[in-house]
């Protein structure tokens, strides 16, 4: 049997063994002791020829309901947005996707420059001084922000609002446990962080306060008031933010955030059942040398020509080893590239237009549901998601929506027992008025 990825012929093999002075390839494995040698064939499925594999994988994929064929109102951290066709054409340039980390800058200027541009775009959107080359995703970036804060302040108490994404909160708890940090959760009031509770929780032991903007319920947190509380005790102010919303919302940097994190999935990266997405991590200049992950910097070559390199590597795990505060090495470079292309395509004008469409369409949807008599529990300003109370279990209602070709919103009762029968509805620029009307009519008819 021959395999199309394996170029060696029997003749090649013979010549190579001769040149290397070995009698059989078995000889090369003699150092594996007999009693740990694997005998027989691995019990995995047999190889498939390419046409059959295409059929098999196609069939497997078709068992899933996708957001191309169905109209989606599901968000909760992962969104169905406009992806310019050009994104895929750039990410399929194999000089990018078959390369590794740009260790040799002379033959990696393309990747390095693309990441330098990504860093710039993230700084622009968030209003921060420095952004790294990406993190695994928004959830792990969120947790790493807490670790950075604890290291920087030498304090052990992490305060987090319960209005953040429940899965980010869960990841934070695991990371904090690793570092033996204490996580204190602050409750919500009217769909926003409870400021009174926050004020009494923050003290001189507090390393940081983490909030999300817009928060998990879609609401716009009062960053101005929160900042005052956080900085009054010299804790770090960490804001997790949907970067697309920053086309219309005042960036967290303007409100004095020390660290801004989030996920750039909203820019040209497929939902892909939850990954790979693209975390980002942005900080003030003061924290530049504490950022986890890779940073690309501008410099010159021997002839004074502009070029780019990985820089400030003394921060990183492969140099610091056991002194490192983060162990991240591989990041999401290819997805950072995708996000850069999408951000570039949108540009200065498009980022505002797309954000405005999101906020307008979501408000239209809220108004129409409200007119139909559904209760909208929160009155806070929101971006492209809002909470609505339904007449029955969300799971059941979503089944009905599916029959009408729609993927319904998120069942908040899964994470918040007090929000049983409450649905989190996301409305992006891709949803048309008629799709929104149809969704509202189906909900009304149930």
């Amino acid at each position: 049997m021959t395999f199309r990825y394996l170029p060696m012929t029997e003749q090649d093999k013979k010549e190579m063994m001769e040149a290397a002075g070995i009698s059989s390839t078995e000889e090369l494995f003699k150092d594996i002791p007999e009693n740990v040698r694997f005998k027989g064939d691995l019990q995995i499925e047999p190889a498939l020829p390419e046409p059959e594999l295409v059929k098999y994988m196609t069939a497997l994929s078709q068992k899933n309901i996708n957001t191309k064929d169905y109209t989606s109102f599901l968000g909760a951290g992962v969104y169905d947005h406009y992806t310019p066709s050009i994104v895929n054409h750039v990410t399929l340039r194999s000089e990018f996707y078959t390369a590794y980390t740009p260790y040799q800058p002379e033959i990696s200027q393309g990747e390095l420059q693309a990441i330098f541009e990504f860093q710039t775009m993230i700084c622009e959107l968030t209003g921060m001084d420095v952004a790294n080359s990406s993190m695994y995703d928004g959830g792990t970036a969120f947790a790493e922000a807490a670790l950075l804060s604890a290291g920087q302040t030498k304090r052990k108490k992490i305060i987090v609002s319960k209005s953040v994404h429940p899965e980010s909160l869960a990841v934070l708890q695991t990371y904090a446990n690793g570092q033996r940090l204490e996580v204190v959760e602050v409750g919500t009031k009217d769909g926003l962080t409870n400021l009174e509770e926050l004020k009494s929780a923050v003290d001189e032991e507090t390393a940081c306060v983490l909030v999300q903007y817009p928060n998990f319920f879609g609401n716009v947190e009062p960053l101005k008031e929160i900042e005052e509380i956080v900085h009054s005790q010299k804790a770090m102010f960490v804001v997790s933010s949907n970067p697309l919303s920053l086309g219309v919302l005042t960036p967290p940097g303007k409100f004095g955030a020390d660290i801004v994190v989030g996920d750039a999935q909203v820019f040209g990266i497929p939902q892909g059942f939850g990954g790979p997405h693209c975390g980002y991590f942005a900080v003030t200049k003061k924290l530049m040398r504490k950022v986890p992950g890779r940073l690309v910097g501008q410099t010159v070559d021997e002839n004074g020509k502009r070029g780019f390199v990985l820089t400030l590597q003394a921060r990183e795990q492969h140099i610091r080893r056991d002194k490192a505060t983060s162990n991240i090495c591989s990041n999401q470079a290819l997805n950072a590239l995708a996000a850069s292309v999408a951000m570039t395509a949108l540009g200065k004008q498009g980022i505002k237009e797309i954000a405005v469409q999101n906020i307008q369409k979501a408000h239209y949807a809220k108004n129409i549901l409200s007119e139909k008599g559904f209760s909208i529990p929160y009155k806070a300003p929101f971006f492209n998601e809002f909470v609505v109370k339904l007449n029955g279990p969300v799971k059941k209602i979503n089944k009905k929506l599916l029959e009408h070709g729609m993927i319904g919103g998120y069942d908040l009762g899964r994470d918040f027992p007090e929000l049983e029968n409450h649905m989190l509805i996301a409305v992006t620029e891709l949803r048309t008025k008629s799709e929104i009307d149809k969704m509202a009519n189906v909900l009304e008819g149930l």
Partner: protein, 485 residues
């Protein structure tokens, strides 16, 4: 001369140009001031570039030409397994039924995705000889940390609070001790012997009641198989510690031996290495973790289970270390890895390792006369040369690496492992032909000759790249990390 021959995308920007197309707003437009409080309406626009679609495509095409990938040429970067990235993988990962599905959809609507994940985790368990696999970790380092967190939870559940130390060999990658630290452990080093293998006496010396785990790559970072693995496992297990397998070098042993059979309790794999990820310019990766039975209760949650004919995520796992990542891992990379496993099957995967090892030994023996080879036994999928001989002539390993750029090659990993002076770590992988290997050998021999006869040619390399050697000291001293108009 022109010192900026490649513009930044921002430098191409012109007020009023667009590269996107959105439908007109088809709902009644409300005044933004009525939707948001004044302070929260952005007043200064984000200065993203304003360029047309063709300008974007030309820009990124130009950048891609300034980048070397596996498709561009040979990439023998040791410990990174830069093998061919199959094109079918890219197609399959883009099917709407994989790419356009939301992680929080009802389980009934994503059974195909869950079936794929289940098949992959079952295959990986078999390949590694482990009892259960989680696909949640996003990359190798993330997998290391996940595995160590599970080992910690295991010891704590046994009331064993004093196991605070993780042992790593002196040849280990820096990520190992960093992961140990982030998981709340202290790391200690065990020495290697003169054959490049873990010194058993030193291991006996450092192992004790405070040992949580030994982290090991096997074959190790020198490309050598730790022949005494069973003795090592016994030493660690008898002391009550666990054995952690760093799967970075799995490409060498598939179908020949399995970490689970060598005595390892926890394994992580780098799907972007052995299982054709791809590498993506530095990610996204995927770092599944496999465990033996006694560690199953501590797996991150949710755990994917088969239930009747279907699949479900189980959240009720009281001893779980919790979540390590939102959702279920880097699914898109996992789709690619599964496609690859189904392309190769059990016979193909074994051949992969056979040829990965043959290619490495062929290269090693052909280069042996021209460079110092600190460890002379057969290697596995990679080997480490030393540039000591050339250093005496004033040519450093860095210079030789830069000279390789002129021949169109990505250089090997250099100055790693730290235990070898002027290290050159070469991993050819199984997807390279004999012709490619021979051409590379010729280039290496020529460079060794140049080091003797015309060292300045090597010292001043590269001669043909778009930029010459870059001033890294300046980049670090005066960091410019973003474009400013």
């Amino acid at each position: 001369m022109n010192t900026q021959d490649q513009s930044l995308i921002f430098e191409l920007s012109k007020e009023g140009r667009v590269g996107y197309s959105l439908p007109a707003l088809d709902v009644p437009e409300a005044d933004l001031g009525s939707l948001l409080p004044d302070d929260y309406v952005r007043t200064e626009p984000a200065e993203l570039p304003q360029v047309s679609e063709l300008q974007i495509m030309r820009h990124y095409t130009a950048l891609s030409k300034r980048n070397h990938g596996v498709d561009s040429g040979f990439y023998p970067l040791g410990s990174c397994t830069m093998k061919y990235n199959p094109k079918i993988n890219e197609d399959v990962a883009r099917y709407a039924g994989f790419a356009q599905i939301h992680p929080l959809q009802e389980e009934e609507t994503v059974q195909g995705a869950m079936e794929m994940m289940y098949n992959l985790q079952t295959s990986l368990a078999e390949i590694t000889g482990m009892d259960e696999v989680t696909l949640q970790p996003a990359a190798g380092a993330h997998g290391e940390w996940t595995g160590l967190m599970m080992i910690r939870a295991y010891h704590e559940a046994n009331g064993d609070q004093k196991r605070t130390k993780v042992i790593v060999p002196d040849s280990a990658h820096g990520t190992n001790p960093a992961s140990a630290t982030v998981a709340g452990f202290d790391s200690i080093t065990v020495k290697s012997d003169d054959r490049g293998l873990v010194d058993l006496d030193d291991l006996r010396r450092v192992v004790g009641e405070d040992t949580a785990a030994l982290m090991l790559t096997n074959p190790n970072t020198l490309g050598l198989f730790e022949e005494h693995i069973l003795e090592m496992a016994a030493i660690v297990h008898e002391a009550g510690g666990k054995l952690y397998y760093d799967g970075a070098n799995m490409n060498a042993i598939m179908g020949y031996t399995r970490p689970g059979d060598m005595g390892f309790d926890v394994v992580h794999l780098n799907l972007h290495k052995t299982f054709t990820g791809p590498h993506g310019g530095g990610g996204p990766g995927s770092g599944p973790v496999g465990v033996k039975k006694d560690l199953i209760p501590f797996l991150p949650k949710p755990v994917l289970m088969k239930k009747g004919e279907g699949f479900t995520f189980e959240y009720d796992r009281p001893q779980s270390i919790g979540r390590v990542k939102p959702y279920y891992g880097n699914f898109g990379i996992n789709v690619r890895a599964y496609t690859y496993i189904r392309t190769m099957g059990p016979i193909g995967l074994k051949q992969v390792s056979e040829y990965a090892v043959l290619n490495a030994n062929y290269l090693m023996r052909r280069l042996e006369p021209h460079f110092d080879l600190p460890f002379t036994q057969h290697c596995k999928h990679e080997f480490v040369l030393s540039g000591k001989r050339q250093k005496k002539l004033g040519v450093r390993t860095l210079d030789m690496a830069k000279r390789l750029l002129d021949f169109g090659y990505h250089p090997p990993t250099i100055y790693f492992p730290l235990s070898v002076e002027e290290a050159i770590m070469i991993e050819p992988t199984e997807t390279e032909s004999k012709e490619t290997l021979d051409e590379f050998i010729d280039a290496m021999i020529q460079i060794a000759k140049e080091a003797e006869e015309s060292p300045e040619v090597v010292q001043e390399a590269p001669h043909s790249t778009v930029v010459k050697r870059l001033d890294e000291a300046m980049a670090a001293r005066k960091p410019v990390l973003r474009y400013v108009k």
